[in-house]
Amino acid sequence: MTNSMSEIEHTDCILITGSNTAETHPIIGRMVKRAVQRNRAKLIIVDPRQVELTKYAHIWLRPRPGTDVAWINGLMNVIIAEELWDKVYVQERTEGFEAMRQAVAPYTPEVVSKITGVPAEDIRRAARMYAKAPRAMQLYAMGITQHSTGTNNVMALANLAMLCGNVGIEGGGVNPLRGQGNVQGACDMGALPNVFPGYQSVTDEAVLGKFEQGWGTGMRLSNRLGLMLTEMFPAIMDGKLKAMLIMGENPVLSDANATHVKEALEKLDLLVVQDIFFTETAQLADVVLPAASFAEKDGTFTNTERRVQRVRKAIDPPGSAMPDWQIICALAERIGQKLQERRDRDNGRNAARAAARPAYGRWDYASPSEIFDEMASLTPSYAGISYERLERGGLQWPCPTKYHPGTPYLHKGRFTRGKGKFAAIEFAPSAELPNEEYPFYLSTGRIRYHYHTGTMTRRSPGLETIAPEERLELNPQDAQRMGIAEGDLVRVTSRRGSIEAKVRLSERSSPGMVFGTFHFREVPINVLTNNALDPVAKIPEYKVCAVRVERVPTAERPAAPERKAAEELQPA
């Protein structure tokens, strides 16, 4: 997020798109409700699903899935045509306006209405409401990014925010709501193929030098860009990738086109999984290492508003399980030891000398606090943060020095890159659209009571009672036409696979659209989803693919669903 969560309750207008905030970020959802109810903030929601917050919205636009650039350009078209944009801000703080103005010129409300299905007058109303607010905040989530045009969608939103002078002010901003506890932190820490911690490029010689020196690894660091998650599976199929280490992830259920992922993982020479449960991915591994959960280790998480906070150990891990950082250190030391043995054998050097020179940098950390300090010394945006300071409460990065108070909102007075750059974005349809054979849009996401592939929430008795099985959302109009009733079993088929699930009739999905979650291993919805990727972010198009929905005749139904399949596989 460019801004902070607390600002939601002090802004004048909130635009939410591609986020079922009340269910997936309940605490932020409540802030939005309070902003509307108590502080009379205006709320605009743009979502093909009738998400919970639409009840509180002043305007709800319901575009067809995958038409985001069109409606965003449409809003900008109206704002420019009606002279509602912030001319001083655009003049002083941005560049590239003219090209963007020409790009959005054809997107009149009437044209946009044809693409998106949203009435032209609603687009005008939404544009006026957003532009006239003194401060307007955008909140979005995976409904914007998980498209083959995800990067363009985000850039279009940024255009809109800059056009109205809403970046770099309190109560404004372009705010992606991060879906996982420490997804912000994992990115900040350089768990990405192109950057070191703090988004320092792996192709920058100066950065490489700094990390070579800082780590003392005694080897040249690679300046070749690595593979992104979604590129790894094809690389395995091509025989380029032979081994994989997976820490705390379950790509067999979570990644698009799951059948393909499973095939790829089975082909590896070595698959190591460290996790807290014997997940669907762990079942394919060669070695499984038991890790500690968040309750069993010390460390830090960075939340969606860039706030670094302390995670504290409450109990000991079960059995001989270890915190991930200790596992990694042990493995690194073991590899270093083997290499040293080899070198000694080859060179005939004595063991004492070998012991005096550990080959692979420092791995003997006594506590996570020491790891954090090493990281902070190499990461400018975290440089001023330490465990000692975090004891007094979380800190929002950038926090470059020991006495810096942290940064509640970014781009104040000046954009990080200098001037804010408008991008001229054209609308492009999704990679796969419904046709006669596959007439429905399928969109995937989460529900309130479960989280991702359900390894944690489905083992929490309360949550499992309240939401024990997948219910595919289908609009009653479609259901009536197809003779499907609430609770009926349907078969959903895409070009990549087929699943069976029970149906929940709900107005939440628009006619012609079905919605399912990826929480339930009995209904692995990602065998359906399209692994078409955004060309820049390589994010799969989870939010749009074309499917066929058929009612499964009663006779064909299995006697009892195999609920406990995964547990049975685990050795006692």
């Binding site: 939340n303 929490s460 050795p571």
Partner: protein, 364 residues
């Protein structure tokens, strides 16, 4: 939350128990008294909520007012003369408490809140025994357990003192309004409301009602019995589910996480939690947890140990790196692990294995 009382800098002078005190404009008599160290007992009052005025324990005398008033709902005004501790007031409070106890069983040994209960403290303060309750010839009504708005929470109507905190929390903190008072007289209870057409009143199972209940009338339906307050360790940490980063406290008894409570009114969440954060802790001590390293040999899993497993991995990795180069190895990190875990994982991948093939689940 506290937006109801808008404090400004204007000072108000009032006299409480003969002592002159200063209050800020907008404060209630209760708030002003508490800020000045004057004790007034309460049960329904909670700093996070608007004053409810239901329990009648905070009654005070205000000069010029014929009957006692509830101090939690009475704004402090200039020149007010207040008495909080007269014998008559104490007697009133004592009788009010006795009436509450006709409903609420004094079976503290069976209650998890024993030792950390406001009602228990008040009973102690006013020295009420079972004998005292016989002054009222009322047979308590039989209550059926009833259903709560969510299957995650169990309602104990006989414990309920009808303070209304839960009703108010559901409206003010959650914004749902899913529960309300139902019935009248001795059979009054709290019950789910029928969701209206625009689904206002739909329970979202956040458990704010349970967290704010002063007398343990709402408990977790699917949980094992929790420990006594004095054997419970509360460890402040951050929720691991979505990216909000709410602060919470893990309640630990004998090395097991038995519950989640909010960590005061601090953090981005101001002490609020959602269904996953509050009820989604069962996985931590689950029997399915992996406990030992395992190696698959010829398609069968064998339990192993760290030494053997690390040897196996290190040998295999080096062999693959020798044969195919470092870029034949890739690592997937995790958004559910800490910053330290992620930092070290990329350090291992880049600095020891020698490839930039590292990514995580940010796109999922």
């Amino acid at each position: 939350m506290a937006s109801f009382t808008r404090h400004d800098l204007k000072r108000i002078h009032l006299t409480v128990n003969g002592r002159p005190i200063l209050a800020r404009a907008g404060q209630t008599v209760l708030e002003a008294a508490r800020e000045n160290g004057i004790h007034i007992p309460t049960l329904c009052y909670h700093e996070k909520l608007k004053p409810i005025g239901a329990c009648r324990l905070c009654v005070v005398d205000v000069a010029g007012t014929p009957t006692p008033v509830t101090s939690c709902t009475t704004p402090a005004t200039e020149g007010m003369v207040v008495t909080t501790d007269s014998a008559m007031l104490e007697n009133l409070r004592r009788e009010t408490l006795k009436l509450l106890l006709l409903r609420h069983p004094m079976n503290c040994a069976a209650c998890e809140l024993n030792g950390n209960c406001q009602l228990q403290d008040l009973v102690h303060e006013y020295d009420i025994t079972h004998q005292d309750l016989h002054t009222y010839e009322i047979t308590p009504v039989e209550y059926d357990a009833g259903v709560w708005a969510t299957p995650l929470i169990k309602y104990h109507p006989q414990r309920c003192v009808l303070c209304g905190r839960c009703v108010q929390a559901c409206i003010e903190i959650t914004g749902a309004g899913a529960i309300n008072f139902k019935g009248r007289g001795a059979t009054t209870r709290i019950a789910p409301v029928e969701p209206t057409l625009n689904s206002q009143g739909e329970c979202v199972s956040c458990g704010e009602c349970m967290a704010i209940c002063p007398v343990n009338a709402l408990t977790e339906a699917n949980a094992k019995p929790k420990g006594k307050p004095w054997e419970t360790t509360r460890v402040k940490t951050v929720c691991g589910y979505c990216g909000c980063g709410c602060e919470l406290e893990l309640n630990v008894v004998h090395g097991q996480v038995v519950g989640v409570t909010p960590a005061g009114d601090n953090g981005v969440n101001n002490g609020a939690l959602c269904a996953k954060g509050r009820f989604g802790y069962g996985f931590i001590n689950h029997q399915d947890r992996l406990k030992e390293p395992m190696i698959k040999r010829d398609g069968y899993w064998e339990q192993s140990n760290w030494d053997e497993a690390l040897d196996y991995i290190a040998d295999k990795l080096l062999q693959i790196r020798d044969q195919h180069g470092p870029d034949a190895i890739a690592a997937l990190s995790s958004a559910r692990c800490t910053n330290e875990d992620n930092y070290l994982f990329q350090k291992l991948t880049r600095g020891v294995i020698g490839t930039n093939n590292i990514d995580h689940c940010a796109r999922l």
